[in-house]
């Protein structure tokens, strides 16, 4: 009797401690993002008002309308969408084709693939950037979005191939054979049968690739130069340097800048998480 009561009490105490811990954690993790969102709706004069306001005293969407009606700032977003979109499409295409081949036809390449994926992690971007800078200049791609697409794919494609190979491996080969008996060829088997089944894998690779391409900073900073070729992460910093006093606009820009990845994340949460942990937490 006493043991059950003391256990009940200790579970109760545990619960209280847990909720305190969770709340503190949520403040640490979430407060900065909340502050960003709230600040983006404050007029600039309210940002450093003393004492600070939590909710905007004067609610305004002025910062957003400023950005969305300014072609120069919109350009950053268009560039980021173009680069990330192209990288996702090409990465998925390469990942699906190569992953299918690796999964269905015996290549002695599996370990090589693993090596490439690990090497991509091991080579510091800053080290790679020095020869890439030369390569990009030599290819006459310096200061173009092509330079970014090309270099981002070096990192995203090996990962996509590895992931897609894994997904195709889980789909039984009997399915391929059934299609072939019906007169389908290899490509038809791939696109009409396997790709629809592997959709969760494709979504997870696609979302992860989008995030990598959307968020990349170092190459975008170095391989482009003119304002009209800047992507969002670099563009925000440019504006920051020029009008560091316009904090509400910087915050609105940041909200818009993280929106696509955030939306993708909220929709495809499970795929996102499995994509991100696949490397470290393999069985």
């Amino acid at each position: 009797m006493t043991t059950t009561r003391s256990r009940g009490r200790s579970v109760g105490a545990q619960r209280v401690a847990l909720w305190i811990g969770l709340t503190l954690g949520a403040i640490f993790a979430g407060f900065p993002a909340l502050w960003m969102l709230l600040s983006s709706f404050k007029p600039n004069t309210e940002i450093f008002q003393f004492p600070p306001t939590f909710l905007p005293d004067t609610f305004t969407i002025g910062a957003y309308t400023d950005i969305l009606t300014n072609p120069e700032k919109l350009r950053f977003f268009i560039n980021s969408y173009l680069v990330a979109g192209a990288v996702v499409l090409l990465t998925l295409l390469a990942g699906i084709m190569a992953g299918y081949a690796l999964s269905r036809f015996q290549f002695p390449l599996k370990s090589l693939l693993n090596t490439v994926v690990i090497s991509v992690q091991a080579v510091p971007p800053i080290t790679l950037l020095i020869p890439y800078f030369g390569l990009v200049v030599w290819l006459k791609l310096y200061d173009s979005l092509w330079a970014l697409m090309l270099t981002y794919m070096v990192a995203t494609i090996p990962y996509a191939i590895l992931m897609m190979t894994g997904y195709f491996n889980t789909i039984p080969r009997e399915l391929d054979e059934a299609v072939k008996v019906d007169g389908g060829n290899t490509m038809r088997t791939l696109w009409q049968v396997l790709v629809p089944i592997a959709r969760p894998g494709i979504v997870s690779v696609g979302a992860y690739t989008f995030m990598v391409a959307w968020n990349e900073f170092l190459f975008a900073l170095t391989l482009t130069q003119s304002r009209e070729n800047r992507t969002v992460p670099v563009g925000i910093q440019l504006l920051m340097g020029e009008h560091s006093f316009k904090w509400s606009e910087m915050m609105a820009m940041s909200v818009l800048g993280c929106l696509p990845v955030l939306v993708l994340f909220l929709i495809f949460q499970r795929q996102f998480v499995s994509g991100m942990t696949a490397g470290a937490v393999k069985s």
Partner: protein, 279 residues
């Protein structure tokens, strides 16, 4: 298939080889006929006081960041996995805890520059709580800058560890805990005798991956402080970038880049061996 892989290999292996070659030449790119100088660039590099300072700070930055990532990641993962939460609450907290991970580095930095501005909300709160009596310059005070940058980096980077460890925790069989409880083991015994040993392979794997990433961390440091003030936050990555793209010393930058690569590669080698052993 193999053409793709071949291209990828060329895009990785050839550039790395090129950097090695560059690092043994007199200033490449800028000179028309660079000469072979052997290890001279490396000698200059290690003779440079700021480079040595950057080495030390890279070590501090990396070790502190990885340690805090692991502690916070494990703490949050265990809270989420405690089983004492309603399902919806657990899902909600999980989303909030992953949030920092979706922000790109330049947004992370701007956000914290606003929060940690001398006139910003954090100084205000600390002042209101009487923890500080004058406005703290988090970024421009040389003795605080490295700590500030590490803090921002910890905030931005723990979610990956948390998610990986959460997946690991969910994989620990529940009857292990039940058996321990029947044997009268307290939470401490359960944590050190079940959770940690069961989680260890994943813990080690994510720690090594995180170590490599933090070693190479560039955007957060560069955007927050640019390596300053007075080189107080200089790391090998920012040092290399400055050599190459501000001073146009590409050969020296290559040597510095090689140093960073070699350290990363050693850790990566351990990581590969560890992953192979797990298979």
């Amino acid at each position: 298939m193999s053409p793709t892989l071949l291209v990828m290999l060329i895009m990785m292996a050839v550039p790395v080889a090129m950097v090695f070659v560059y690092s043994t030449l007199s200033n490449v790119v800028m000179e028309r006929d660079p000469e072979f100088v052997g290890i001279e660039n490396y000698l200059t590099l290690f003779g440079d006081e700021i480079f040595r300072k950057a080495l030390g700070q890279t070590a501090i930055f990396t070790v502190t960041s990885v340690t805090l990532h692991l502690l916070i990641g494990l703490g949050f993962a265990m809270m989420l996995n405690s089983g004492l939460l309603p399902r919806l609450a657990a899902a909600l907290f999980r989303v909030i805890y992953i949030l920092p991970w979706v922000f790109t580095a330049s947004i992370v930095v701007i956000l914290w520059q606003l929060l940690l501005n001398p006139n910003g909300v954090i100084n205000y709160l600390l002042e209101a709580a009487s923890l500080i009596d004058s406005k703290v310059e988090w970024f421009s005070n040389p003795s605080l800058a490295l700590g500030t940058v590490i803090f921002i980096n910890v905030w931005a980077g723990y979610p990956f560890i948390m998610i990986s460890l959460l997946a690991g925790l969910q994989g620990i069989p529940g009857d292990l805990y039940e058996a321990a409880e029947i044997d009268g083991a307290g939470w401490r015994a359960r944590f050190f005798n079940i959770t940690i040993p069961q989680l260890f392979p994943i813990l080690l794997a994510v720690a090594m991956l995180d170590f490599i990433w933090n070693l190479q961390q560039f955007p957060i440091i560069w955007l927050a402080t640019g390596g300053g003030p007075l080189n107080a936050t200089e790391t090998i990555a920012t040092f290399t970038y400055n050599l190459a793209f501000s001073k146009h010393e590409f050969a020296m930058a290559s040597a510095s880049g090689v140093v960073l690569f070699v350290v990363s590669a050693i850790v990566a080698l351990f990581y590969v061996r560890h992953q192979k052993a797990r298979d």
